[in-house]
């Protein structure tokens, strides 16, 4: 029995001879790839690009608000900026960054060679990219065509009477495509996790990150249909003149809010649970202890997801639902604080008596725990109906959800970038620069969002493009804007560190952090087939069990804590190994992999996604029009897109997955 820790030292024992396909290099390879690792990288790079765009929008918002009666940005542009900032950050930034880790890391964590449906995976990515392009291309049609109704898109503001331009249509079509992308991805990940675990990896031996991927994916497939239908009704109201949200026709604008938040509240757990998963990987690794209360952690995650479907009306306390509904939803909302609190205490319990190493990933993870806790507490405050009536639509709410979404989700995901970067690139990110990065981001973040609590309590309303001299809000707005620029700068530092470390980062081996989970068992970066031989798992923390023995299953045991040997960032591959030797080694690995049958690349996912893109674009451009429907036009391009989509799907269905 060979150790799985060094798969590349395996000699040529493969029983089956060459089937690994000749890889074309360059652009074509990326366009047709169905390798989960490449798709993960595509997701990650695209998500970071969109995060930067969303960040730029935030910088513009803060520049406008730096002084009272500022006239830099006029009202309509400001509306477009905060709408695009919210939509971009949620759907194009944080969600796909999570999906990047699901793709790259989760598959490795369960010891699989790829996802269950690799071509569907590529299709999800292309749809996500095109959905993002559709949303952002509205900028090229003039500022009046940019979505400006807020990311929540409340009816009846979105009805044609109040939003006569195509702004809302860009938003609808983009969200529909992103919704399809998310749901298809989620089906894929659930099947992958349930069906493709390595032998011996029972559900309760899965890493926490894999658990959160599973539970978040379930949330995705159950929550997105609600917004799909809500958007379908909106499309019909706008395009064919039904009255789903129009009171004059007997419709009810509140229906939108119900459907939107039935999706929207699970959505916030979709945003935060993956970050919980990342932190649950990082904290044990750098505390040199197994995760405290693993099974309770699993149940707490499931409980959060389940309860998440029963709290949506706490977004609607001021719409007049009545005391019964308000009380029930207040109670369910407060209940969610229990499993969430359990998680926080479990992380603290993991760190207690641990040999904590404050590496950059650990700093971000601990930062996440602290900042998320602040956001969680202000969240419970919103559950109190009489208080919420006063917070509602004020900067207090902005402060709250940035503490959970930035301080929670993004800190967690950035921790993940620092943590898994060596797995993806074979190099570790610059640690000292990373620590500066953390502290500047932490400072900037708190300077930006903490004073917003004060502003909100002083009555400053959200979504206003300007405020008057003498309002008393001037001082804190200056602080907030200064903090925001510092935060923007820290994001550029992150970008710089990612780019610079690609060339100058210290080269490391399979498991630079001495972490316990399977993704660290293969080389960094992993070969195309991930594991030459599928590992057999007999323990929850397989690599630690292999290295230190299994008695640290007992959480009080010291084993696995004291032996923690390596300094962070040291390599178990010699550092001075020259490039030629590395190339030779890789070539040898390629040879070694010849017994493993991997599916062919395919361009049909791209074609089908392109078809859907053209279908949407064809509705948004008015040349040459076939049928006009409200503000949109079905042009010849839309027909072309539909034909391409159907052709792509049929070509895909009849294409053999491998030969």
């Amino acid at each position: 029995m060979a150790s799985i820790a060094q798969p590349h030292v395996q000699s040529h024992q493969a029983t089956v001879q060459p089937v690994v396909h000749k890889q074309r290099s360059g652009l074509w390879d990326w366009l047709t790839t169905i390798d989960h690792k490449k798709i993960g990288i595509l997701y990650g790079v695209t998500a970071i690009l969109f995060l930067m765009i969303g960040g730029l929008e935030a910088m513009l918002i803060r520049t406008q608000l730096v002084a009272a009666d500022n006239t830099l940005i006029e009202a309509n542009t400001y509306n477009a900026l905060f709408t695009m900032h919210g939509t971009t950050m949620i759907f194009l930034g944080v969600m796909p960054l999570s999906v990047a880790f699901w793709n790259y890391i989760m598959v490795l964590q369960i010891g699989a060679r790829d996802v269950a449906f690799p071509r569907l995976n590529a299709f999800s990515y292309w749809l996500f990219l095109f959905g993002g392009i559709i949303l952002n291309m509205s900028w090229f049609f003039g500022v009046n065509e940019v979505p400006n109704q807020g990311w929540y898109g409340y009816a009846p503001l979105t009805e044609e009477a109040w939003s006569p331009t195509r702004a809302v249509d860009f938003w609808i079509l983009s969200l529909q495509i992103l919704g399809i992308a998310s749901m298809l991805g989620a089906f894929n990940f659930i099947v992958t996790i349930l069906n493709m675990r390595a032998p011996g990896m029972s559900l309760m031996r899965m890493p926490m990150f894999t658990w959160t991927t599973l539970i978040t994916s379930i949330l995705l497939i159950m929550a997105f249909p609600a917004i799909t239908i809500a958007l379908v009704f909106l499309m019909m109201d706008r395009w064919v003149g039904t009255g789903f949200y129009a009171p004059a026709a007997g419709g009810d604008p509140l229906l939108w809010q119900h459907l939107f938040w039935v999706f929207g509240h699970p959505e916030v757990y979709i945003l935060i649970l993956p970050a919980f998963g990342v932190v649950s990987e990082i904290v044990p690794t750098f505390s040199r202890k197994p995760l405290f209360g693993y099974s309770v952690m699993v149940y707490a995650t499931a409980a959060i997801a389940f309860l998440g479907f029963g709290v949506w009306a706490h977004h609607m306390f001021t719409t007049g639902l009545g005391p019964t509904a308000n009380s029930v939803f207040a109670a369910t909302t407060m209940t969610i604080a229990i499993p969430t609190g359990v998680k926080i205490f479990n992380w603290l319990g993991t760190m207690t008596f641990g040999q904590i190493k404050f590496t950059t990933p650990m700093l971000f993870a601990v930062g996440m725990i602290s900042q998320f806790t602040i956001g969680g507490i202000s969240g419970v405050m919103h559950a109190v109906v009489p208080l919420d009536v006063h917070h509602n639509d004020s900067y207090f709410v902005i402060a709250h959800f940035h503490y959970v979404l930035f301080g929670g989700s993004l800190f967690g995901l950035i921790a993940g970038i620092y943590y898994w970067y060596p797995k993806v690139t074979g190099r570790v990110m610059n640690e000292s620069f990373g620590k500066w990065n953390f502290w500047i981001m932490f400072t900037g973040f708190n300077l930006t969002f903490f004073p917003m609590h004060f502003l909100g309590l002083q009555g400053m309303p959200r979504r206003y493009y300007s405020y008057g001299e003498g309002s008393g809000w001037e001082f804190w707005n200056v602080v907030v804007s200064f903090g925001a620029f510092l935060l923007g700068f820290s994001m550029l530092m992150l970008l710089f560190n990612i780019g610079q470390s690609l060339r100058t980062g210290k080269r490391v081996g399979a498991n630079p952090w001495d972490a316990p989970t399977l993704e660290w068992a293969t080389t960094s970066p992993p070969p195309v087939y991930n594991f030459r031989e599928i590992p057999q798992v007999a323990h929850r923390d397989p690599l630690w069990a292999e290295k230190y023995g299994t008695d640290h299953e007992d959480e009080d045991s010291e084993v696995g804590i004291t032996i923690a040997g390596q300094e962070v960032g040291t390599a178990d591959v010699p550092d001075d190994k020259d490039k030629e030797a590395l190339r030779l080694q890789q070539a040898e690995e390629e040879d070694a992999g010849h017994g493993i049958h991997m599916p062919n690349p395919s361009y049909y996912p791209l074609i089908a996604a392109l078809g859907m893109f053209l279908l949407a674009v064809g509705m948004l451009i008015d040349f040459p029009t076939l049928v006009a429907l409200g503000p949109v036009d079905f042009s010849i391009v839309a027909v072309l897109g539909l034909v391409t989509l159907i052709g792509g799907i049929f070509g895909w269905s009849f294409e053999p997955a491998s030969d």
Partner: protein, 252 residues
């Protein structure tokens, strides 16, 4: 247990390689359930929320058209004037029978009876298409009597809900016909029964949804509204025979 991690030889290699569309009979999964079958079950769970949202909206707005009309606004026609339970019962029966033929087709294929499989598959597609024909007749009839998407909340919710169900049936019919084509070309053998089984899961689900829609939209009685709001001079129902004659007249 000192060796917590060991390796198994992925002999043959193909066992765990992903994305093998046609390896249903060879690959083993951690749950024992085929990938595509599990994915279909998950899709159906998701589709429950999809139809759940549509049906909930229908139920929220049920009676709204009548309510608005009583308050002196809006227009008919109303469901009590339009709903034809005997007619829709027939098409519901047709759709339910298509589930039976679907089961027979799969059973035949699993017993390697290719001919039987094709016949029952064709029958399923024909029954599905018949249901769609009935829906087309119903939609045109309602439209002739003055009900459109824009008329009132009944028009908007009725056409949207039943239309989305019809879209599901239409996609199912296209899927079945594609499978029939593949079968006739010799590409659907006993070992490919999973392809038919997955399509069958979808098909049965669409049937079950119709049972719910049929109950809530057709069988539960509506407020009686007399004849007000019906299209001026509109006959109460274009007879099916007349409709068939017109349809045939289009072609001959």
């Amino acid at each position: 247990m000192t060796q917590a991690v060991e390796v198994v030889h992925a002999s043959g290699g193909a066992g765990h390689a992903a994305g093998h569309g046609g390896d249903d009979h060879t690959s083993h999964t951690a749950t024992g359930i085929n990938h595509r079958k599990l994915a279909m079950w998950l899709f159906l769970a998701s589709d429950c929320m999809f139809f759940g949202s549509l049906i909930a909206t229908y139920m929220i707005y049920r009676g709204r058209a009548e309510e608005v009309f009583r308050e002196g606004a809006g227009a008919g026609p109303f469901p009590s004037q339009l709903i034809d339970i005997p007619f829709t019962s027939v098409s519901a029966f047709v759709l339910l029978m298509s589930s039976l033929t679907m089961v027979l087709s799969l059973a035949a294929l699993q017993k390697n009876n290719l001919r039987g499989s094709r016949i029952w598959l064709a029958a399923t597609a024909i029954l599905g298409a018949t249901f769609l024909g009935g829906q087309y007749f119903e939609f045109t009839e309602f439209y002739h009597e003055g009900l459109s998407l824009q008329t009132n909340m009944f028009g908007a919710t009725f056409f949207t809900l039943t239309g989305f169900h019809g879209l599901h049936v239409a996609i199912g019919v296209i899927w079945l016909l594609t499978l029939l084509y593949v079968s006739l070309r010799g590409g659907l053998k006993q070992k490919d029964a999973m392809s038919l089984e997955v399509a069958g899961l979808y098909w049965h689900f669409v049937d079950i949804v119709w049972i719910i829609i049929f109950t809530l939209v057709y069988l539960v009685p509506y407020e009686e509204m007399g004849t007000e709001g019906l299209e001026e001079g509109g006959e109460h129902g274009m007879r099916l025979i007349e409709f068939g004659r017109n349809a045939l007249g289009t072609f001959f």
